[in-house]
Structures are given as C-alpha cells and as structure tokens.
C-alpha cells in the first residue's frame, strides 16, 4: 500500500545573517513525510533540527533566508505569498512548541485563542467555534473543558497548557503536525501523557507528525522513521529499527552510546558497593527529620503564606557513595540540597557531618566546614560570575580556605585542576560567555573540587547539557569520585542519569520521601505506586521495549505543596487525617528498602 506523500523537502538551505557574518544553519537537506507517519528529527542543540520546519512554516526569524524546495500539496512553500502561506499554516500544517507557557498569548482566554484559528480558516465564529474548541479540549483529556475556555494560560499547569497547544493545532485537522521539542519542558509523567495523546491523534486522524527532539527515548517510542541531524546536515536516515539496532554513521552510534540504558525489571544493575566503606557506626553525613518552610509574601498588608517545601526527610550517606535524589518539579529536591549545605537554614531537624552538627552552629565554624562541602549547579553559565575570568572563579575557594598560599601557588593549583577536569589551562583568562556549556560546567566542577572536598552536591548538574557532553561530564564525575574518594548527592529529574551514576536512590514527592533504596532494587522491584509510575514513564532508547511497554497512570496531577491534601495523593484512605497534619509514614519494607505508606495501587490507577 502506498501512502500519500505530504511533504517533500529537497536541497533546503537556511542561513542567518548575524553580526559575525553568515551562519549556515541548514545545508542541503532532503526529507519527506507520508500521511499518518511519524518522522523523528534528532540532533543536539545547534544542529539546525528546528530550522527545517520553521522554514516550512514561514517562521524563520527576520535575518534568516531559506532556499531550495519544500513541496507541500504540489506547491513550493518557499514561493508562496504571505496570504497563501497563511491559508496553509494553522489549517493544513500546524505546529506546537517547546515552552507552552510563553507559546500562548498571556492576555487572551484559552477559548478566544483557539477560536480565532477556526475564524481564520473555517469562518466559524462565536458559540459554534467555541463548541468545536470544547470538543477538542475533551479529546486531549482536559477536565472541565468548558470552564477552561474562559481561563487564561497562566491559570493552567504546564501539562494542561501543552494539551491546549495540541488541541489548538488539531482544530482544523491538519495533514501535518510539527512538534518542536513538545515535552522537553515537562515532567516525565506529564511527558508520557502528552506523547500518548499525540500518538492517539495520529492513529485516529491520520495526521503525520514531524517530531523534533534531542531525546532518543522519545523517538524510540513515537517514530516510524528517523533523520539524525548534525551541523545542518542529515547524517543518517532510516526506520527506527535501522537507526537503533543497525546504526551506520559514527555520530548516530555516538549519540546512542551516550544515552544511559536503564534495564528495567532486572536487578543486574550494580555500581557495586562504594569503593571505600566508611565505618557505619559513625555517620559520614546524616540528615534527621529535616523541614524547610518558606514564607510567601503576598503584598504589604496580607500575612505571608507558609509553604513547607521539605517535610520530615531523613537519610544518611557513606563516604564514597553516590545518593541520587529524583523528583519532579516542585518536589523540593533542590531545596533539600541547599538545606543540607545550610544555604537555606532548615526550620527543624538536624544535619550531622562527620559526627558533629552542621546546623545551628556559629558562622565561623560553619565556614571552616564548607571547605569539604561543595555544590555544582544546573546552569553552567549562570553559576559563574560573568565579570570574573574562569581562572579567578576556580581560584576563589583557595582564597577563602588556603590563604597561606602565594598567588603563584594558587595559580599553579588552578592549572592542575583545570587539566584534571579536562579544561585546557590556556582558557584561564577567558570569561564564561566565551566558553561552551560543557566547558563552563567543567569550570564549575573545577571550582568545586579544587579544595579536595569530601562531599559534592550536584544539582541537576548535567540537565542542561547535550547528551554527548552529558555523558562526558558524568564520566568525569565518576572518575573524580574514584580518585578523590568523593561522596555525591546527585539531584536530577532524569531517572536515566540517576540510574547510571547512583549507588542508592531517594524518590521525593512534594517534600517527603516516597521510596529510598539501592539502585538495582529501586528499578528491579519498585514498591511505591509513584515510583512505578515514574519508571514506567521514562522513555527508553529501545523501540522494541518502548512500543510494548505498559504505562502506569495514577489519578491526580502533581499539585502544589501549598495544598495539604496533595501529600495524601497516594494514601487517599487517610485523607481525613490531613487536618491533623498527618504525613505518610516511611517504613522499612525490606532491609535497606524504605517505602512511604500508600494504598494499594489498584485503587490509585486511573
């Protein structure tokens, strides 16, 4: 059976006229899409993967020009007048974007934004148009669709907004839906739901999907064919099976190798026990029943609102061990890290470091301990002072903790550590904005390790990096751990990264521990429904497994920590106890395997 050809791109070039001259973002690309198929365009940042389809939508930025041919229904889109183009986009080709918050007009009601598409393309207006919109909101599983039509984008959650974007894109039942990193800004459980919706729409309406993403797992799950893009060119194309199981190009292989492959359901994964076992009787780091409250100011006259970001968390850490902390946005994982380091003072509970307390001690005592406790941040550029050279940033801890060194000695140490973390010492006098993201993250790591600390907290330290660089940084961290006998607390929203690096994993939900055990057991025998849901939602870079896997969907959405009932999402049978401040208790279900109280999973499924 031959399918209808929808789009043919031949020899497409896109270039941008910038301050630093002409940049060729896309260089002679060919591809095509048939009705009802899903084509994945994979590449790292800067590969030009979005530009092909932005050109097809006539959405290049002002300094961009496209040449070549984009054939859609027998016409070259690049030759169309604006009016002709407007007749096509939104109606026969539509697009959804990465960030659903900024992609919707903030001052217009959802209903108005959607209805205007029908007004422009189908001359449908008023109640009639709104009725069509409502039906589509139902179809993308938005509860209370009628009420949503009157709401503004900021009143919806991220996942809801992206559903609205999809519904809006589907209003005219287009032949082609272009999705540009549609789930990158979303939590993994929400991502799973959005991907499901897109897949269903494709099957029901025969809409072809062009899925632009950096995530091999998402591609494995969604796509029929794949184009791998690098530096403005397609380096390889083929069916999913070809790309994943028989990659030809070196770059494709490198991409696939860089992605951690969680082996779900098997207990094989073992990073072994930490290389150095610390005497368990006296703890290395021990956190006891820690709580963090934030006051939210609501203007000069109203009393501040209390937000409990961390609610009674306890765990310990051994020397040389890596503890992964996973949670979705709003789980309080970054707050927890900062509370451990006393960057945010905990409201109650205690932090014990090498047998002596770390909280409620005087400033100078704390300062001397900071030498052994360091942190690496998510955004490499933001974590470096833009007005300091890279060398000065790395040297700063020495100036605080090793004042006796001469400047030359300090500089020598800086060169050594730069070498150690894979930075060319020649970059010493450069500024952060002159370096790449990966290089800046190495600077951050160099700064954190120059005083030879004992514990480093990595707060989403690899999340903003491309997969290939991410793999290198993870390898660097593991090497440093071995050489310096470092302990890590590794915080991430990305289960596959945590799986790769951690000895033990702690799952956090709205400031409380849901499950805590070693990596193999967590993935091999997860106990808590939330953990199960998280694991089932991670897209795996393996099409065979991915297309067969059953996803677990639980009732409710991750809601705000301001809502006390939200904490009982997995224990609805005790919802009545919320008033008295009841929090699900953590129990040691197996030795070393802690699970929070929950109802039977059958009662929680959608």
């Amino acid at each position: 059976m031959t399918l209808k050809r929808i789009l043919t791109v031949s020899d497409l070039h896109v270039s941008f006229d910038t301050d630093d001259g002409i940049v060729n973002a896309v260089r002679g690309v060919n591809c095509h899409l048939d009705a009802g198929e899903c084509l994945g365009i994979v590449g790292e940042s800067g590969s030009g993967k979005s530009q092909t389809f932005l050109a097809a939508m006539g959405l290049l930025s002002r300094n961009g020009t496209a040449s070549g041919k984009i054939d859609f229904g027998g016409r070259n889109i690049l030759d169309m007048t604006k009016a002709e183009l407007n007749a096509v986009r939104g109606s026969r080709i539509s697009m959804i974007f990465q960030d659903p918050l900024t992609a919707l007009t903030p001052h217009m009601r959802i209903g108005d934004q959607m209805a205007e598409v029908l007004g422009a393309h189908k001359k449908l207006h008023g109640a009639e148009a709104l009725e069509v919109c409502r039906r589509w909101l139902d179809r993308v599983q938005i509860p209370e669709a009628r009420r949503r039509l009157r709401q503004y984008p900021h009143e919806l959650s991220g996942g809801m907004r992206q559903r609205v974007m999809i519904a809006m894109a589907m209003l005219c039942e287009p032949d082609l839906l272009v999705a540009d990193e549609p789930t990158t800004a979303l939590d993994v459980t929400i991502q799973a739901e959005i991907l499901d919706i897109m897949d269903t729409l494709r099957q029901e309406h025969g809409t072809a999907i062009a899925l632009i993403t950096h995530d091999m797992g998402v591609v494995a799950r969604m796509c029929d064919r794949i184009q791998v893009m690098r530096d403005g060119e397609y380096v390889e194309d083929g069916t999913v099976d070809e790309i994943f199981y028989r990659p030809k190009h070196e770059y494709t292989r490198m991409l696939l190798d860089a992605v951690p492959r969680i082996e779900i359901g098997s207990a094989n994964k073992d990073r072994g026990t930490p290389d150095v076992i610390y005497d368990k009787s006296s703890d290395f780091l021990r956190i006891d029943d820690i709580r963090v409250d934030f006051k939210i100011n609501r203007g000069l006259l109203s009393p501040p609102l209390n937000l409990r970001a961390i609610d009674g968390v306890s765990f310990n850490l051994m020397q040389g061990e890596t503890l992964g902390i996973v949670g979705e946005s709003g789980s309080g994982k970054s707050t927890l890290a900062r509370a451990v380091l006393q960057l945010i003072p905990p409201s109650s509970g205690s932090v014990t470091w090498l047998g002596s307390p770390l909280n409620d001690i005087d400033k100078n005592a704390l300062k001397s301990k900071r030498r052994d406790l360091q942190i690496v941040f998510q955004d490499p550029l933001a974590s470096l002072n833009p007005s300091n050279t890279v060398g000065a940033s790395i040297m700063e801890p020495l100036k605080v903790f090793e004042k006796h060194l001469t400047h030359a000695q300090m500089q020598q140490r800086v060169y050594e550590i730069m070498e150690r973390v894979g930075l060319n010492p020649a970059l010493n006098n450069r500024y952060p904005h002159e370096l790449s993201g990966g290089q800046n993250q190495r600077v951050g790591i160099a700064r954190a390790t120059i005083t030879k600390p004992k514990l480093i907290i990595c707060d989403e330290a690899v999340s903003s990096l491309d997969v290939s660089i991410r793999a290198q940084i993870i390898k660097l961290l593991m090497d440093l751990q071995r050489d310096f006998q470092l302990s890590f607390i590794f915080i991430s929203h990305d289960l596959s990264v945590v799986w790769e690096i951690s000895h033990r994993i702690l799952v956090l939900y709205l400031g409380t521990i849901v499950e805590l055990t070693d990596t193999a057991r967590l993935f091999g025998n997860p106990q808590h429904p939330y953990t199960k849901q998280l694991i089932s939602a991670v897209p795996l870079p393996d099409p065979d497994i991915e297309k067969k896997r059953q996803r677990i969907k639980l009732k409710g959405e991750l809601s705000s920590a301001l809502d006390p009932r939200a904490k009982m999402r997995f224990l609805p049978s005790r919802l009545g106890l919320v008033e008295s401040g009841y929090v699900p208790k953590l129990e040691e279900r197996f030795p070393g395997h802690f699970v929070a109280e929950h109802d039977a999973i059958e009662d929680l499924l959608v």
Binding site: M57, N86, G90, S94, M95, P106, V117, H154
Partner: protein
Amino acid sequence: MIRYSLKRLLTAIPVLWIAITVCFFVLRLAPGGPFDGERPLPQTVKDNLAAHYNLDKPLVSQYLIYVGNVAKGDLGPSFITEDFTVSEQIAIGLPYTLKLGGLAFVFSIIVGVSAGIYGALNRNALSDYALASLILAGLVVPNFLVAPVFQLIFGLKLEWFPVGGWGDGSVRFLILPISVLSLPHIARISRLMRGSMIEALNTNFIRTARSKGLSDRAIVWRHALRPALTPIVSYLGPAASYLLTGSLVVESIFGIPGIGRYFISAALNRDYGMVLGTVIFYMVLIMILNLLVDIFYSWLDPRVRTQ
C-alpha cells in the same frame, strides 16, 4: 477591583500627609516672609496681616489649622491675591490647564503610539528613519525653545495661528500650545512603543499566532498590541507630571491663564499659600491619575489581577 482601588487610595493618604507636612515646615523655615515686599509695610499693618493669616500663632497650631483645612478641601488663603482663596484661584485656572493638558495628553498618546507601531512594522524603511529623526528632535529640543520658534514661524510669518492668548478657547488658539506641549511626549512615547512592539513581535506567542495562519493585522491588534502597551502605560504616570511641568512653560509663553502661570508668578512672589496649595492640588490630581493607570494595567495583563 474596587477593593484594590480603595487599598491604593488608603496608602496614598499617608503619603500625601507626609508631603504636606514636609512642605509646610520647609516653607516656614525659609528666610523672609510674604510681606517683605519692595516697599516696607508699617509694623502694625504687618501684625494685622499676620494675625489675619494666623501667622502669629505657634507653628504647631498653624500646622494643625492648615492640615485641618486641607482635609476639608480648603487650601487656605492666598497671601498676595487677597480677593481669592487658593481654592478659588485654582478653580479659575483649572479649566484652562485641564483642557490644554488633557488634549495634549490624548494627542501625544495617539500620535506617539501610532508612530511607534508604524516604526516597528516598517523597520529600517525610509519612513522609519524619518520617524527616528522626529523622535530625536522631540528629545533634544526643549519646549521653551520650540515655542518661540513656532510662534515666529506659524504666528508671525505665516499668520496661520494666533501667537498667544486663549481667545474663545477654540482650536485655532490651541493648536500651537498643544503641539509644543506634546512634541517631547510624542517623541518619548513613540520611541518606547517602537521598542516594545518590536520586542512583543519577537515573543514565542507571536510565533504561535503566526503558525496559526492569522493575518498580520490580527497578530498586531489582537496579540502584540496589549503586551506592547505595557511600558507605555507605566510611562503615563510620569508623563502626566512631565506634562504639568511643560504646561508651566507653555502657559507662560502663550499667555494662557491656567494654574501653571499662577504657580510661576506665585513662586516668584513668594506666595507660600498659593505655592503650597497648588503643589497639593497637583499631587492629588496625579495620584488619581496613577490609580487609573494601575487599573488599566491590570486590564492589559491578567496575571497582575490574580496576584
């Protein structure tokens, strides 16, 4: 919305009170009094005058009397113009100032906003450069320089408009003063508007709107205009007070009998009562204007409302 407005009004009252207090005492600290004219008055006359205006009482009771009167809407007597109280003087000048200022305000917003949008949509076209030079002229040529030049060209040479005066208050008399008053504001507003419109057109939601196949007109009017207006709205408060400042000059140069001209002559003659009264009146006026601006603001951006 009503609660919000009330709350804003309530916070404005202490500010007003503090301002009045400071002004009152600073005035009394000043060397020299209103009756130290060129011809010295006999001491008895001075004493009588002082008693009449409560100037012989202790400073604190003078202050209490004054604040009490202000609360009742009475701005006290003018020390120089005996026949009128300050409130009456303001009432006489107000219609002129309001008409001139109000029209200039509306005129500069309309022209400035449209010019700004036009410039943003026709970036780097010849007309955009023409607009840029107009903006530049508005910014660097102060209105006390524009006024005599306009008077000379349009009044004396071309004889299109009267050189000054209010006449019957018809358009002919208003055109010159209003254009002089508006020019710098048109410049500022169109510059702001051009910049914010360009920024608004570069946002993600405009990209979405374009991907929906909407016409350029729908994109500009429905999606980009409101966010682009935000900086203009926050400029309106300061603009109103700049406009008042401008009206001081314009009323003097064009001989329009508004509050501004009274204020200048009162200030030059050290008529404390009149100066203080006018300052208070202007403050109230501008605070009300700012309240309106804030309300308008929450219409522009629904996120402000839910906070």
